[in-house]
Subunit: 135 residues, 4 copies
């Protein structure tokens, strides 16, 4: 079991009916996406053609920040607030969609953008699944 899953299993509070597998997947996807986007921004910046990748670097930076914040909010279950979670998940899905679109557009030329686009798609999907699971 992943660390996020192991930690979740030991939580003392009732998780308000939240599905352990769905929330674990969502946390892991957000954490993975935050790191991949930080990495993609830096790789784009290191390309000789960085000038053409300005929009991608910016999307990556936003997506990294929002995914990082979302991973933290989704990790917390004490004093559960489903409405706030829903709103944060929506912003995160929007950031992943936007960044996934930009990265996909460069995916055939830059391998880091191709990998990052896949990670963004996965995270967007995990946020949408999580939202559904909140009811």
């Amino acid at each position: 079991m992943s660390t996020a899953g192991s930690m979740l299993k030991t939580h003392p509070r009732d998780l308000n009916g939240v599905d352990h597998e769905v929330v674990t997947k969502c946390i892991e996807a957000c954490v993975e996406c935050a790191q991949a986007c930080t990495s993609c921004a830096d790789a784009c910046l290191g390309q000789e053609s960085a000038q053409e990748l300005v929009e991608c670097i910016r999307s990556n930076a936003d997506c990294a920040d929002i995914c990082a914040a979302t991973s933290r909010v989704m990790t917390r279950h004490t004093g559960h607030d489903a409405n706030l979670k829903r709103s944060v998940l929506e912003a995160c899905a929007a950031a992943c969609k936007a960044c996934g679109d930009v990265c996909e557009g460069h995916g055939s030329r830059y391998e880091h953008c191709r990998v990052c686009a896949e990670v963004c798609r996965r995270c967007e999907k995990a946020c949408l699944e999580m939202t559904k699971s909140l009811g």
Copy 2:
């Protein structure tokens, strides 16, 4: 002029019609709220009655993380994405509303909660003003 304002004034890109004063206020409010919520969580934790402030500590932690991410997204103007900004501002206003409500409930007993509630209200308002300004 504040540092956030001075920095914004020197930005090389057209800000897509975003009002400088409104966006500067929004960034400053988010930065202030992230710090105040981190401080309130720590002060609650330091109270002998920390056990009764569990919900407040959790709201503070979420609000700090979301405000910090929002301050960064709102600081970026290169490769402007109004839809993403709108979605992030909505999540931030929701976090400030939730945290402001919880802190206000303890405001008469704990001065740090009273000050923090005021900061949350200010930040919620600044996010709503900013959303309106995005059109």
Copy 3:
């Protein structure tokens, strides 16, 4: 291969002799530790005995913030600055040591503290290995 490893492999710049495996392990350990500490803080907060876990919650919060920042600094290779990396790794190892000690002290009573202590030890070790690898 992990996402962090896949992203690193596609980086356009020479990594200044940094060992791919060592830096990947370090990034992954920091990311894992940031999430585990956020989770442990929330689990401690959810315990009926939260009052006794105040020091642990605080150590977790510091460790989460420092590990998150370190994971980002270590993910960046464009414009490499070995001195800054060394200084950040030292702070991160100190945070992991402190948090690992506090969590270990509660490990026999709280499973989340036991798991988190292990993660902190792993991250501390990964930061020290990384420092050595920087020369």
Copy 4:
């Protein structure tokens, strides 16, 4: 009084002899520097000459992340750990020094780099003052 100062004044714990003015200045400088560096990175990215500013964008990104983490660690006083604070302040001063140097180098051409360099110098100084105050 600033919000950071007002919040600090209401903290229930003894601050272990830490000087209120020095720590307030340090927190404010870190928060200001995190925002200015995020802003400078984005302004550099928006320049037609972004390609020449790659090193500056990267320094800004590191400095923003480290200052943000430092502002949070310095905001916490419950369960005080002077050694960890010292280590984090050292990393933050190093990040501010590095970023201040890079920004200063472009200060005559780019107003955002000139302003950001000043903010970095101020934050470096505040971290060093804070370290001295920890004894």
